[in-house]
Symmetry: C3
Subunit: 194 residues, 3 copies
């Protein structure tokens, strides 16, 4: 499987899970879970596609919608058993952030040819789903938390863009950049890096 | 008059009225009424058109803008006489939700040919104007209320999409789907369905 | 230098500064400053370009991204010395509001040929960056403040559109409309016009 596609499906699934966990904290019904899972999982990529003037990815391939719905159903039935739902949300969010920072940079770079644009589309893709989730759920934005957040997305986007421009193989660049972004955000969650 | 067009004008007018009622609760000036009426009335359809890559409807036909402004002026002068403004907002919102869930599904189905996509565009069109209204007005999102909300939009989108695929005449499908969505949301408001 | 381009760079720089000032009030890190500066500076114009189906301006010309980042860095190092950061934010916001109401109307008029559409794109371009800033930073929307706000954007858009349709030279129309919008919003901040 193409590693970018794997990042894509993983990113959407974990972001969808964070939306469903937010729905669980708000005690919504099943459809509310699916709704929040969908806007969180697909929001960042939708904004990215609109901005780079590409067809919206889930219109081309409705499988993404089904993934979000399945994840939401799964969380709906298992979340009551989870003790630390917000903590879990933060860790899933970190995986999604890392995956989407790379994917957003890759698509922005192809569409514009500009490294600067790639950094912006990487950051936007990684953060916008979470912003939508927090705004709709009426929670304080995860971006306003004291620990490092947007910086981790920047690291993922910058490492990928730099390695890609340097001619490194796309698969390796994607995996290294994903790991770098996840380490930064993970460290922030675990050790409170600010 | 084309029934979809009728749903469209009704939907925009009642959503615009909910925006103006929110402006009234915030004691804004007349331009603030028009602004909130406009983003509530036209926000959902704008997002839908961007996503399905259609020209934005109110750029093609500025009549929609005029409808929102007229509704805002009407509410500006009559709202102080209304005793239960939030209750009225909820009922208008229910009519708009029902109308836009059908319309959004219809446009998404035509644009993508996918029933799954049609459900998503139906829900997004029906909910996004209200989300914008609540976010800008700084009110808790109507989607986070305990009673059924997104589910009603799903019912409208699903009934229309199902009947359309089954070959039912578009006018009949639209009216039945509108009625179904309105009954679900109306029951939720009236009897507190959760 | 083309006066519309000058309005454009000024508008983006002062809006970016308001985003950075909001980041300063939230005690974010440098990347948080750049992020909030970017979405505030470029948010309104991005929405405008999506709606009129133009290529997004900062994809075509990444200089805009660099301007936002530089402004954010500047504010990051100087903001601690500023005593009245919210007051300064409001005045910068007024300059950006005036500049973008004109620019948004000009682009909307060219794209649609409709004066009504031009008023809407003028207002949206002028207000949306600030809405994003306030939503992400979790502050009450500047649009909900008691003094005149959206009306000032309407004045800028209407004066420019009226003069342009009347055949007045574009440079003069832009400067007069900018001054009119700034006077209205400035009066609102200084004298509490409601």
């Amino acid at each position: 499987m193409n590693p970018l596609l794997l990042l894509d499906y993983s990113g959407i699934a974990v972001f969808a899970a964070t939306g469903a966990l937010a729905a669980s904290r708000k005690e919504l019904d099943l459809i509310g879970f699916i709704f929040l899972a969908g806007i969180t999982g697909m929001g960042g990529g939708t904004l990215r596609d609109l901005i780079i003037d590409a067809p919206v990815f889930w219109i081309l391939n409705p499988t993404y919608i089904v993934i979000c719905a399945l994840v939401a159903v799964l969380v709906f039935f298992t979340a009551p058993m989870v003790e630390y739902r917000y903590r879990l949300l933060l860790w899933f969010d970190a995986v999604g952030l890392a995956a989407y920072s790379v994917l957003g940079a890759a698509k922005g770079l192809v569409a514009s040819g500009s490294a600067t644009v790639a950094l912006v589309t990487g950051i936007l893709t990684a953060t916008f789903g979470g912003v939508l989730r927090d705004v709709v759920a009426g929670e304080p934005s995860v971006l306003m938390r004291p620990e490092v957040y947007v910086s981790a997305a920047l690291v993922g986007a910058a490492v990928f863009t730099g390695m890609d421009i340097a001619g490194v193989d796309g698969t390796i660049a994607a995996l290294v950049a994903f790991a770098a972004a996840f380490l930064v955000r993970g460290g922030a969650i675990r050790y409170g890096w600010t």
